[in-house]
């Protein structure tokens, strides 16, 4: 397996080089640069803008710019954010904990709900309950997350006053205190619920279909013939087998955890990676934008590898070599 992983990791290198080309050229192809939207005769000076463009190398030939960028990235220097005037790495590190916290909470919610709904639907397929769950799944898939976010805020924050509508923590609390931790949890629940409940669909349906399929298999019939309790058949024999395909999702979840939720974070003013990414695109903050896109790509590749390796671990029938 080690050999297999190494082979896969080596295989990623050409892929990453290609991705870096695409990321870089797409970023540069976007019209404008960080100074385009800044023209304001009362505050800026055309000379300053020209000077900065020169200093940042925007006037160099494109291959020189690419080389400068990629050389920096390889040496661990992701460049400096033109918006925040700070090293990109520092900003990403600052936002990362918020995003991970939100993503883990929402993933937890997703898994819990998906398991409950999926197992119920798989056990009793084609009943009213199953159809309702399917209906909910399609509904959740269809509703765009910004609508879900705003409706959630309207009901739970403005009408019922249960949760705060913005930010990641109450104003003025000191880090590390109990009140701070409580406030963090209070602030994360609503966005996490919105994110979590809206993305249960694929997990639920996947689990349901697999349970139905497995319940028709020979080993289930054998278990039934032996007189094993129905609940044990489902909760132990079938579930264990049906979970294997779900492992595929784990790989993708890795990206979700780090990549943040672009729209939900923005609506809830929850300063994480997703909000940073949107900001960086609209202000043409190249170094942040490209670093994040590269990060997402690397994570996707790693996530895939992880999923494949986990497959091998979970299911001895699959052999990696």
């Amino acid at each position: 397996m080690l050999q297999y992983s190494l082979r896969r990791i080596l295989g990623m290198i050409p892929m990453l080089i290609l991705i870096s080309f695409v990321v870089f050229s797409l970023a540069k192809m976007m019209p404008g640069d960080p100074f385009g939207g800044m023209i304001d005769p009362s505050k800026t000076d055309p000379k300053y803008i020209e000077e900065m463009r020169d200093k940042l190398g925007y006037n160099d030939p494109i291959y020189v710019q690419y080389w400068t960028w990629i050389k920096g990235v390889l040496q661990g220097d992701l460049g400096k954010s033109t918006t925040h005037k700070l090293p990109t790495l520092e900003i990403i590190k600052e936002r990362m904990p918020n995003t991970i916290f939100l993503a883990l909470t929402s993933l937890f919610i997703t898994y819990v709900f998906a398991f409950i709904l999926g197992m119920y639907a798989g056990k009793k397929p084609y009943t009213l309950g199953d159809n309702l769950i399917a209906g909910y799944n399609y509904f959740a898939l269809a509703v765009p997350s910004f609508i879900a976010g705003i409706v959630g805020i309207y009901f739970f924050s403005f009408q019922l006053d249960w949760f705060p509508f913005s930010g990641s923590v109450e104003v003025g609390l000191e880090k590390g205190t109990w009140a701070y931790i409580q406030s963090r949890i209070h602030h994360v629940i609503l966005p996490a619920l919105i994110l979590g409940l809206m993305s249960t669909a694929q997990y639920t349906q996947f689990l349901r279909n697999d349970i139905i399929e497995n319940s028709r298999k020979d080993f289930v019939r054998t278990a039934r013939a032996k007189g094993t309790k129905e609940s044990k058949i489902y909760n132990v024999h079938i579930l264990r087998n049906s979970m294997i395909p779900l492992i595929t999702f784990l790989g993708f979840d890795l990206v979700t955890v780090i990549g943040g939720a672009i729209i939900t974070e923005t609506i809830f003013t929850y300063p994480g990676i997703g909000m940073l990414f949107v900001e960086s695109v609209s202000t043409r903050d190249y170094s942040v934008m490209m670093s994040l896109t590269m990060l997402f790509s690397v994570l996707t590749l790693l996530g895939n590898l992880l999923a494949d390796v986990l497959y091998g671990v979970a299911d001895p029938r699959i052999r990696l070599d």
């Binding site: 892929m15 991705i19 797409l26 976007m30 019209p31 404008g32 640069d33 385009g36 939207g37 800044m38 023209i39 304001d40 005769p41 009362s42 505050k43 800026t44 000076d45 055309p46 000379k47 300053y48 900065m52 918006t83 925040h84 005037k85 700070l86 090293p87 600052e94 936002r95 910004f146 705003i150 805020i153 309207y154 403005f158 509508f165 913005s166 930010g167 990641s168 923590v169 104003v171 003025g172 993708f252 990206v255 990549g259 672009i262 923005t266 609506i267 809830f268 003013t269 300063p271 940073l276 990414f277 900001e279 695109v281 609209s282 202000t283 934008m289 790509s297 996707t300 895939n304 494949d308």
Partner: protein, 579 residues
């Protein structure tokens, strides 16, 4: 199986990239947020003679500050919102945007080159240090330093010897002299009436920044996390991307502020109305598009101030020779003054303001916003009232007639005449207003089409203007003039931001006169300014449309709030809350 996986990963990368593209298109709406539009003005909120001490208010901003909390380095408007609470300048402006003393008073030498500033005594930085002339010397030397990373050098370059210091040929700026701890002299390179407006006014704390190299200042903790100033509120806590908590500065030189705390908090515009209704936000700058919902809230009062922002339709006269830095006059479509005037008469501006701007803007016929004392009286200017008949007559006089009977005019040589009009993308009302302009011109027989077929993404649009894209014969634009209405930077013949490339010697001469030594006489300065505006009004190198209005929603519990054209954060030490 493994093959399928690598295909999947490719798909997922594509997804990430498509997300990236989706985000691009989302960016335009925030870029155009500077386009605030509005009507009648109510600049003062509820008053109280017996302000109560205490209380916290929340000042909402609809985007995250960049986190650079020193005037000398900041760029974003959200950072400015925080800075206006914590620091102040040598001078500020009255309601007519005339300069007035603030931290200092000044005397001008007879040759108009040297200004002697006398700082108020007893003004203290938030850390207790006294504000002194050395702080200003330090500020000017920092900004002129070759390692300086901010955008303000243009505001210091005008001082004598700044260039030499910048180039490393001098140890100090010759034109800045500290006389005593509260007095300093600034000598300028040239006599210009707006030297003072241009001169950098905001001090940096020399002692507090001691030991930090100029190139590291912008990134330093003291600028980003623990900034200080001399203003009514001091920074207690900065939480990046979320809020800045400010507390009362008991030693504020104009008296102790009434409020205990001000929280500057980031909120998403989509929840603004709800947050205002719930009293979660006390002050918020509002776009006219959102007015509908906010108008109905009874706990909210709307304040409006004439903005120093105007919108216009630019017309192309040539292109810019970037090498030489000059405009070249080589585009004949709008050469005839009568055509330009006809295009202006064709526009029903009051109707457009009503339809697309919630009636929150005022018709304008000049490019010096009326809030300035330098603005021409409207009776001195041709009002260009909507008159399609006159427009058609003017076209005919200029020789633009419909020769081939297609309903549209041909140029005097009988060749087809067509205008390609560009507008940038943004809120929903932009589409309507672009169509209205096109329709108005088609109605007088001038064939007009929307450049590139749809509204253009804002960044791309700016790039096209900068590069004199041929598809923009005419283009919609907006300028904010800030506190200095000097038109040279946007309408001077060779100015980079004179996007229509209008070349006019008379205009250049008038602009020059308006900044000359003689202009130190206010009457002369105004006369020349009015003369220039009359010229602009007659020549119409661009079609002025309307002036915008800044609108703020203010919770009724907050008292003694006033606004000037640009900001509501004015005398915030006088603000108080009722309960």
């Amino acid at each position: 199986m493994m093959k399928k996986k690598s295909f999947l990963s490719l798909v997922s990368i594509l997804l990430v990239l498509s997300l990236f593209l989706a985000a691009c298109s989302g960016g335009s709406s925030s870029s155009s947020s500077s386009n605030k539009e509005g009507g009648d003005t109510k600049t003062e909120g509820a008053k109280t003679d017996k302000p109560k001490d205490g209380g916290t208010i929340t000042y909402g901003i609809d985007g995250a500050p960049e986190g650079v909390f020193d005037f000398s380095f900041y760029q974003g408007e959200y950072d400015a919102n925080v800075l206006q609470f914590i620091n102040e300048g040598l001078y500020d402006y009255d309601k007519e945007i005339k300069i007035q003393p603030n931290l200092a008073t000044w005397k001008i030498s007879d040759d108009k080159l040297t200004y002697t500033f006398k700082l108020k005594e007893g003004v203290k930085w938030h850390n207790g240090d006294e504000l002194t002339a050395d702080d200003f010397k330090y500020t000017y030397e920092t900004i002129a330093n070759k390692d300086y990373t901010g955008p303000r050098y243009a505001n210091v370059e005008i001082i004598k010897g700044a260039q030499e210091y910048h180039d490393g040929k001098a140890d100090s700026i010759a034109g800045v002299q500290v006389v005593d701890p509260h007095t300093f002299k600034v000598t300028f390179k040239d006599v210009r009436v707006n030297n003072l407006d241009t001169l950098w006014a905001y001090p940096m704390p020399k002692k507090y920044y001691e030991g930090i190299a100029v190139k590291d200042l912008q990134e330093s903790k003291k600028v980003r996390q623990e900034p200080i100033g001399v203003g009514p509120f001091k920074v207690k806590k900065v939480v990046s991307g979320e809020y800045v908590e400010l507390e009362r500065n008991d030693n504020y030189w104009q008296g102790k502020p009434h409020l205990d705390k001000v929280v500057v908090k980031v909120i998403d515009p989509s929840v603004a109305a709800g947050a205002l209704k719930k009293n979660e936000i006390d002050v918020l700058s509002v776009r006219p598009a959102d007015l509908g919902q906010i108008n109905k809230l009874d706990n909210i009062e709307l304040l409006e101030g004439k903005a120093s922002i105007y919108s216009y339709i630019g017309l192309r006269f040539g292109h810019r020779d970037k090498e030489k830095g000059i405009s070249v006059d080589d585009y004949d479509k709008f050469k005839d003054k009568k055509v330009r005037q006809a295009l202006m008469y064709a526009l029903n501006r009051p109707a457009m303001i009503k339809a697309f701007m919630n009636d929150k803007a005022t018709v304008s016929n000049t490019v010096i916003p009326s809030v300035f004392w330098l603005a021409a009286d409207s009776k001195d200017l041709n009002q260009y009232k909507y008159n399609p008949e006159k427009a058609k007559k003017l076209l005919a006089e200029a020789g633009y007639k419909d020769v081939n009977g297609d309903g549209f005019v041909e140029d005097p040589d009988g060749k087809p005449y067509k205008i390609s009009f560009g507008h940038y993308a943004g809120p929903a009302n932009f589409e309507g207003r672009a169509k209205a302009i096109i329709q108005a011109w088609n109605d007088i027989g001038v064939k007009t089409e929307l450049a590139s077929g749809s509204l253009i993404e804002f960044n791309l649009y700016n790039e096209m203007k900068e590069n004199d894209d041929k598809s923009l014969d005419a283009f919609f634009g907006s300028w904010g003039t800030g506190y200095d209405p000097d038109p040279s930077i946007t309408w001077g013949s060779n100015a980079e931001w004179n996007h229509g490339r209008w070349i006019n010697k008379e205009s250049d001469q008038l602009i020059k006169d308006s900044l000359s030594e003689k202009a130190f006489d206010d009457k002369y300065r105004k006369d020349v300014s009015v003369k220039w505006q009359k010229l602009f009004n007659e020549e119409l190198p661009a079609l002025p449309l309307w002036e915008n209005v800044n609108i703020y929603a203010v919770n009724k519990r907050l008292k003694n709030v006033t606004m000037d054209p640009d900001t509501i954060i004015l005398d915030s030490h006088k603000w108080s809350v009722t309960e």
